[in-house]
Each structure stands twice: as structure tokens, then as C-alpha cells.
Symmetry: C2
Subunit: 213 residues, 2 copies
DNA sequence: CCATGTGAAGGTATTCACAGCC
DNA sequence: GGCTGTGAATACCTTCACATGG
């Protein structure tokens, strides 16, 4: 099945598998079966096998998967086999937390630049990265930074995205709670944290909303 | 179609519509057509109409939707018609940013308690909320707090969830990068920020990864 | 004998096209 | 004429069951 297009839902799950594999490797394992990985990451075993079948044969029947080899295969498929440089725009509370967040490294992602519009912040360093004026966003192309994280207020989001697009950025993770428009060649993922919390109550049955004293 | 089960994907989109409606109301509008709302939030018009058809007739043919009425309907469906009290566990960089984040209010969600295991943080106040010892999580039931946000390191996530479940919490938004197990009656949504950034490169064609000098 | 990889079946969500109502 | 609400058609994803290979 190696020549099919990979479903979006599979692309969404691949980083989960990757994380599971790395944790498992840290624990000293060399091989893992689809069933063990399934138990570990919380997905069904056949789902994992189906997902992997879209882009290659990694397993050995009777044995399982070589962790190292499978991790490399997933990274290559996700195009994470190269270290990716990313820029952050908006060094507020959330932006600062993202700069300090160590989790990106696991996927070979590296935040190497930070921008803010506030002159009092420019020049300051957060987590070893000096904050630059937002006017300097146009230097990203020269610096070969192709990913960006937008953590600015809603009102500034579209203008920021426009700047980033003009600077040649190809992928944007947007935390501002609003739709932003970008050309088709630029992939935008919008993540509204409040919205995720907002859909939680739906799954709580009415009768049990109050504390069951 | 009022008596069907609402698809999960629809539940995921409803908060988007709700946000769009509120912004539109702020701009002084009273009515809105599915087409205008579609342009505004970035979803197709027929998708909006289909989604809304799962739980009620809100529109008037030839006119559109009364914004106020539709917003109330969506809130009721999402069970957001009551102010919801939430607790935060883990007041690190991300946790502090979440405490300061004003976006939850829009959905009637209110963070009213914060816990951390670090004794030097306990007693401090962040954004008007006093940080309590994590050992006090068991008081949540008494305080009728049914939602929780977990922003602790991966290693502590499962133990934190166990504590929250024991304290009667019914919905958990988990930022720790790991699967957590909870009884079926407790809904858990895991949000791994690094993973969202990690699937961005997949959508950037190989030939265009480097800056196009 | 055990675990993978995959056609085929089944289920869910998206998209279309239009009847019905203001 | 304009816009909603929805059956029907389509596309997509999940789940199953098993043939295949170590």
C-alpha cells in the first residue's frame, strides 16, 4: 500500500507513535509489537498497523518493529528528519511559556528567534533568545526559518500572518483565537486553547454536573 | 433532524461558531446568514447549516439566524449555559500563562483554583488566585469544581489525573505529553502543543523546504 | 506459532442539490 | 428572490478477518 496518499488522521497520529517509540527506546527496548505500542499510546493495534502500511514496511512478522528503524521512518514521512528552525511572534505570557517549553526538541524543532511589538521587551532575552522588533520579521527568509508560532492578541493575528507569509514562512501554528487567511502554499494550524476546554462540558451528562454530594 | 446524536466533529466546530457569533454581535449585528458566518469563521455554509440541524431549528429562511438566539442554543447544547468552575494543576510557565489567559471567560469558564507541588510556590498568588498545595486537590468535590486543567510534567500526569478523578472531577484538559488513563465517566482531552507543531512540516513540499533565495 | 500488512466491510462525516418557507 | 433545513450521494476513515511471511 506504499503508494497511497496518507490520510490526515494518520498524520495526526504519527507524532503520537513517534513519542511512544522514543520513550520506549529510552527504557532500553529495541523491538516493539504493534500491540505493545498500542497499549502504550492508547490506540488500537490494527490502527497502528494500518497507519504504518500507508508509507512502508517496517515490521518483521513474528517479531515486531525495530524501534530505531520505525522512528526514522516516521520522522522521514513527517519530514522531521531535518532540524527545523522556528520563530515565535508575541512574547506575552503564552509566548514566554512556549519559549521555555522543552517539548519541541523531541521532534527536532527549534525555536531560534522571537519577535514582539512592545519596545520595552525588545532586546531582552528569554531562555537565551533575544527578543527582536516585529519589524524585523522580514529577515526570516535570509535566516532560513520556515516555521512560525503566532501568540499575539486576536486583533494582531492577521497582520502578523501577512508579515510571516511575506517573509517566506511555510508553516504557521496560530494560537490567536481567530481565523487567519494565508495563501494555499502556507499551511496554518490554529489552536484555540479555550475552545478545547469549552467542548469538555458537552461530554458530562446533565444529571452529574453538580458535585454528587 | 433534531433527535440524532451530534457527531464529534460537529461538537468540535460549535465553539468556533459561538466565538464568531459573539464577535459579530460585538460589531452590532443582530442577524447573520450561514454564508456570512461561514466567511467569518472559515467553514463552508452548508457545513454550518448541517451542523446546526442536528440539534434544532434556529434560522428563518430568507433572513438568516438571530445571533442572540443561536448563541444561546449552541451554549445550551455544549452545556455552557452555566458558568463552569475549573481548577489548574501545575503552575509552571504554561500553567501561569493559562491562569492569565482571558479567553476562557468567553465560554463561561472560570479558573478558580490552582495547585502546585512546589512548597515555595504555595501561598503565592497568580492573577488573583492563591496557589494551594497539590495535597489539597481532594477539596475540589466540596467546592463543586468539576473541570480541571493539567499542566504538570509528563512523569506526574497520571498521578495528578488519579487525584483529580478521586476528587470527583468530570472533565480534564491535559497538556502533559502522555496518554493518561481515566474511568469512562471522566472525559479527558489531551493537547500536546509540540505535536501540533510537529505535523506542520509534513504539509510543506520537499522542494520548497529551504528558503527560496 | 506469532505478528505484520492489507483487501473488504462497515461506519461516520462531508458535500451536493433542492424542496420548502419567509 | 433569498436563505434555511435535509435527504441522497460521495468521500473518508475505522474496523475486521485473514492470508502471508519470519
Amino acid at each position: 500500500m506504499r503508494y497511497h496518499r496518507i490520510p490526515d488522521e494518520t498524520v495526526r497520529r504519527l507524532p503520537v507513535y513517534l513519542r511512544g517509540l522514543m520513550v520506549s527506546a529510552d527504557q532500553g527496548h529495541e523491538h516493539i509489537s504493534s500491540q505493545s505500542l498500542a497499549d502504550f499510546v492508547g490506540v488500537d493495534a490494527w490502527q497502528i498497523r494500518k497507519d504504518l502500511s500507508y508509507f512502508g514496511d517496517f515490521g518483521t512478522p513474528g517479531v515486531g518493529y525495530n524501534i530505531e528503524k520505525l522512528a526514522r521512518g516516521i520522522k522521514k514521512t513527517l519530514r522531521l528528519d531535518v532540524i527545523r528552525r522556528a520563530a515565535l511572534v508575541g512574547v506575552g505570557d503564552l509566548g514566554s511559556a512556549l519559549l521555555a517549553y522543552p517539548g519541541f526538541r523531541l521532534y527536532g524543532l527549534d525555536i531560534v528567534a522571537a519577535f514582539d511589538i512592545d519596545p520595552t521587551k525588545v532586546g531582552e532575552a528569554v531562555n537565551g533568545i533575544e527578543i527582536e522588533s516585529a519589524a524585523k520579521i522580514d529577515t526570516l527568509k535570509r535566516r532560513e526559518i520556515t516555521l512560525a508560532i503566532v501568540a499575539v492578541p486576536r486583533a494582531a493575528a492577521q497582520a502578523t500572518v501577512d508579515q510571516l507569509v511575506a517573509a517566506g514562512v511555510r508553516g504557521i501554528l496560530n494560537f490567536a483565537p481567530s481565523k487567519v487567511i494565508a495563501p494555499k502554499r502556507v499551511k496554518v494550524i490554529t489552536l484555540d486553547i479555550a475552545m478545547e476546554l469549552a467542548r469538555l462540558p458537552y461530554y458530562i451528562p446533565r444529571a452529574e454536573q453538580a458535585a454528587e454530594t
